[in-house]
């Protein structure tokens, strides 16, 4: 037996949530592309075979700019004021499996050494409704990193397209089950997830190569066209580097990127990563070697956003394929 919901009912449900004051974020058309944005009108909700949105859903748990606390100078003292934080419940609706798979990674990052209360509070109030993919483009490579078009990792609920306007509702967690409780019909058909992209490379080969070839020319060559912006990191579901600045009496946490030349610039003027080659290498190493060595999983979900959003058309995929090619060359 399976649970079924029609797209009309899904929209109605979304409208209900909005009505109840729930913050619903979902893929929509904006800026000439598909973006995850707060949903105002449930009619704007995209449910068809769209490709991954240009941004990542991480910004609803880990916003691009967040006040950690405020401070006030009083006389010769400084007074700290806790940031209010938010308890507003939110539903991330129609999230791609590759975005959802990043949430357990973020959960880990924001808790492995000390618990980030601002993140955790938002996380507790969030339910993640994943929409399985029915299409992919040349940049998608979830299957290369152990995921797939109907991966449940990170999901509270997984919606799998059944027909043009119905979805099978697979509850993954209790939170997900209660969200859809009483809103579905039962049926005995089961949705078949679409086939994902062919695997493009083996992460292990990348890990081996990058651990052994720190000075390999491939890094510099591949980075020649890299312009050094943060488009890849800012739209990556797993990139989580941040910078902390004081502005207007607030201590603020903002997204950062290892691709910025300033990222590793020392006060002395020395920069241990002086060129884009070393910065790109860092990005690959972190995702496929350093992080897996430390925490046992790859820091990449194969969404392809870095390539899709790269002004120069680079991103990690072409480099990963090239690396695997190098690794398999006879020594």
């Amino acid at each position: 037996m399976s649970e079924i919901i029609s797209s009309d009912n899904l929209r109605k449900l979304a409208a209900e949530w909005i009505e109840q004051g729930v913050r619903v974020a979902a893929p929509q058309h904006a800026g000439g592309r598909v973006l995850y944005l707060p949903l105002k009108n449930s009619a704007d909700l995209l449910l068809d075979a769209f490709i991954h949105p240009a941004n990542s859903a991480k910004e609803f748990l880990f916003p691009k700019s967040e006040t950690l606390y405020a401070y006030r100078v009083e006389g010769q003292d400084v007074k700290l004021v806790e940031a209010p934080g938010t308890e507003t419940p939110q539903v991330l609706l129609g999230v791609r499996p590759c975005d959802a798979a990043a949430f357990p990674i973020l959960d880990h990052i924001f808790n492995w050494d000390c618990a980030d209360e601002l993140y955790n509070r938002r996380r507790r109030n969030t339910t993640i409704v994943v929409l399985a993919c029915s299409a992919h483009d040349a940049n998608c490579f979830c299957t290369s990193v152990g995921l797939g078009p109907a991966s449940e990792r990170g999901a509270d609920v997984l919606l799998v397209p059944l027909t043009n306007d119905t979805f099978e509702v697979r509850s993954v967690t209790e939170k997900g089950r209660s969200l859809f409780a009483g809103k579905t019909q039962t049926d005995n058909v089961a949705a078949m997830a679409a086939a994902g992209p062919e695997p493009r490379f083996a992460p292990d080969a990348v890990r081996k190569f990058s651990a052994a070839n720190f000075e390999h020319p491939i890094w510099g060559e591949h980075a020649l066209a890299c312009v050094g912006c943060g488009a890849c990191a800012h739209t990556c579901p797993t990139c989580h580097c941040f910078d902390i600045v004081d502005e207007h009496g607030e201590r603020v946490r903002n997204w950062d990127s290892c691709q910025f030349s300033l990222f590793t610039l020392h006060a002395s003027g020395h920069n241990p990563r002086p060129d884009q080659g070393s910065r790109q290498r860092q990005r690959i190493l972190h995702k496929f070697s350093i992080y897996p060595d430390k925490f046992g999983e790859i820091l990449c979900t194969g969404c392809g956003n870095c390539t899709r959003n790269c002004p120069a058309g680079l991103g990690v995929l072409p480099l990963l394929i090239a690396i695997e090619h190098e690794e398999h060359l006879p020594a």
Partner: protein, 666 residues
């Protein structure tokens, strides 16, 4: 943490009446880094300043804010006081709580709160202030004067008499300029050469004047106090050291019929010649465009005849370098070319006046030569065409001046006066002659000037027509001058024997090129720009470069001389000590961050920014950068505003200081 002291002034009742000074002190004391905040009746008084000094010592203050009147009033006072207590004067700021607060805001509460904010702004600024030291620039106490007309001569003599060496550069073979060719001068009618030639001789013999005639300024490098000048000494073919000026050479020169430049083509000279008898140096020059030896290797008589062997046909231009600390530009003027098409100037000329077509239509400088006792006619007024004495002579004023349509929009200033003089001198020489003057307005401001014009009209019977001349034609050997008298409303036609056109005054040729070498601005007409029309009339925007005479604007002899003396006194001021001391609040470049786009260079009013290169020890170019010349920068900060990365900043008003002030208002 900074240790800032805030000192609040009551200014008697001036501030305390509307600002609760004690409360401002209380609020100021709460600003982080403020060690003490106290108020006093008169901060600028001796006891007030003592209090400031005592507190600096006892509280070990390192920065000070005085909240009192305008910084224009007392910033220097308090900076000095703080300096006496051991604080760098530039770590003192003021908050203007009198002019900008207590005197203009009657509401006590509002005024008090505003005063507190003004103090906070100054505290935040001073927190980021950096200690500054006055800038010292060494000075080469030696001046260059460019142009040796009456203005250049005056400036050179003043500076040299003041005890400094002068390098005087003149383009022509002799000094003297336009004035040397004039007949008599208004309004006193003293003979031009009688008053000028003694000054010329003085220049020639002055132990501190190094004279380069027949020379031009080729290049200028450096800045105030430290210029390096390259002078091109043009080939003269006569060694003026060997030459005695005996005259054997020009007496044998067979090429006699060369129009004399000094006589504006009214007389002739040889191919080897002294431009005029009183020339300084009284040494000949060979015209290499005419001389048979130089043109086609013929003749050579003069060389054979010269008793001292001073003539050498192998002479070449020489480049000479001179180091000077200040420059006076006195390049003078030329006359507007009346008849010529002047496409480069977008000026049309006045073809309808027949200048260049009719021999007896001449310009005013040519007429000066006709009047001059040393001129081609020995001072008799004889017209060029047939040497006859003209009985009817027409003077046309404003030829090219004050004419937006065809000429120049400005007034040439001296034409009214010299035209009256011409009419007068003509009458003195030709008693039965009649002078007619066509004018637009008579502009005769100046000591004894209007009386002079009246004399020309009333005593010497010059006929004045308030009329523009429409056309001059030649009919039956007469020049028909046609106009319409706007006072009587009637058309006027004068049958003239000679017509003299008072052509507009224009800057001398090449002055723009020179101005570019000197980084001096010039206006749309090519006249050099002074730094400020009222307060800095002989200074230019380039430190150490001064201007005088007609290169700045049309002017007469007394004005040129006055301006030359002014420029000379500015030069001597520059030389007053061996080092120039300049305010340290000037721009500086973070050369590491400068992207070398040089947008700042275009914005700098003082040309104080240079392109520089940073090289590695092995000589490789590391990068280019803008660099500020501290000798030239005046500290306006326009460069900072156009610098996109703010690699440019200005000491005393740094980005950090200004933003801190603004953010203090948050």
């Amino acid at each position: 943490m900074a240790r800032i002291g805030v000192f609040l002034c009551w200014c008697g009742e001036n501030i305390a009446r509307t600002v609760d000074v004690a409360r401002v002190a209380e609020l100021s004391a709460q600003i982080p880094g403020v060690r003490c905040a106290l108020d006093y009746k008169y901060m600028c008084s001796d006891p007030g300043q003592s209090l400031l000094r005592e507190k600096i010592v006892s509280e070990r203050l390192d920065r000070v804010v005085v909240a009192s009147c305008s910084p224009h009033m007392h910033l220097k006072t308090f900076r000095k006081a703080a300096e006496r207590a051991g604080i760098n004067p530039y770590l003192v700021e003021m908050a203007n709580i009198r002019e900008h607060c207590s005197w203009v805001h009657p509401d006590r509460e509002q005024a008090t709160l505003k005063a507190a904010e003004l103090v906070r702004m100054s505290v935040e600024k001073v927190r980021h202030n950096e200690p500054l030291r006055p800038i010292k620039v060494p000075v080469t106490r030696r001046a260059l004067v460019i142009g040796a007309g009456v203005a250049g001569i005056q400036a050179a003599l003043d500076i040299a008499d003041g005890g400094y060496e002068v390098v005087l550069v003149e383009r022509e073979p002799s000094i003297g300029g336009k004035m040397a060719g004039l007949s008599e001068t208004f309004p006193t009618l003293d003979c031009s050469q009688c008053i000028l030639t003694p000054r010329m001789v003085e220049v020639g013999q002055h132990p501190r004047i190094k004279l380069y005639t027949f020379s031009e300024v080729e290049a200028v490098d450096g800045f105030i106090g430290n210029f390096t000048i390259t002078i091109r000494n043009k080939a003269r073919y006569v060694d003026i050291a060997k030459c005695t000026g005996c005259g054997e050479c020009w007496n044998v020169c067979p090429l006699k019929k060369n129009p004399s430049e000094f006589d504006y083509g009214m007389g002739f000279r040889r191919a080897i010649y002294v431009p005029f008898p009183q020339a300084v140096p009284a040494r000949p020059v060979i015209d290499n465009k005419v001389c048979a030896k130089l043109v086609r290797n013929g003749c050579g008589l003069c060389e054979k005849k010269c008793p001292t062997g001073a003539i050498s046909f192998k002479d070449e231009d020489r480049l000479i370098e001179e180091k000077v600390g200040a420059i006076v530009v006195a390049t003078g003027y030329k006359l507007y070319s009346i008849g010529k098409e002047q496409p480069s100037d977008k000026l049309h000329g006045y073809g309808e006046y027949g200048y260049g077509k009719y021999k007896d239509v001449i310009d005013s400088l040519q007429f000066e030569r006709l009047l001059s006792a040393s001129g081609p006619t020995s001072g008799e007024v004889r017209r060029p065409s047939d040497g006859a004495v003209p009985k009817n002579i027409v003077f046309v004023a404003c030829v090219g001046s004050r004419d937006n349509a065809k000429g120049l929009s400005y007034c040439s200033k001296i034409c009214c006066m010299y035209t009256a003089k011409h009419a007068m001198l003509y009458k003195h020489k030709v008693h039965d002659g009649q002078a007619h003057v066509f004018y637009m307005d008579i502009r005769s401001g100046g000591k004894g000037y209007d009386e002079f014009v009246r004399r020309a009209i009333e005593q010497d019977g010059a006929r004045y027509y308030r009329s523009r001349v429409s056309k001059i034609t030649q009919e039956n050997g007469k020049l028909m001058v046609r106009g319409a008298d706007t006072l009587s409303g009637l058309p006027v036609t004068v049958e003239a024997d000679l017509v003299v056109l008072a052509a507009a005054m224009r800057p001398a040729d090449g002055v723009q090129e020179l101005a570019r070498k000197l980084n001096v601005g010039y206006d749309e007409f090519g006249f050099l720009m002074e730094s400020h029309p009222k307060l800095r009339p002989v200074e230019t925007n380039t430190g150490g470069v001064f201007i005088c005479g007609a290169c700045h604007s049309p002017k007469d002899i007394p004005e040129s001389v006055a301006q030359a003396s002014a420029a000379a006194s500015k030069v001597q001021l520059t030389f007053a000590s061996e080092e120039l001391t300049r305010e340290p609040e000037i721009a500086g470049v973070n050369e590491r961050m400068c992207a070398a786009c040089f947008r700042c260079m275009g914005a700098c009013p003082y040309h104080a920014i240079e392109r520089a290169e940073i090289h590695a020890r092995n000589g490789d170019l590391i990068k280019r950068t803008a660099r500020v010349n501290p000798g030239l920068c005046m500290g306006c900060g326009t460069c900072v505003a156009v610098c996109p990365s703010k690699s440019m900043d200005i000491a005393g008003f740094t980005e950090q200081e200004i933003y801190s002030m603004v953010e203090a208002l948050a």
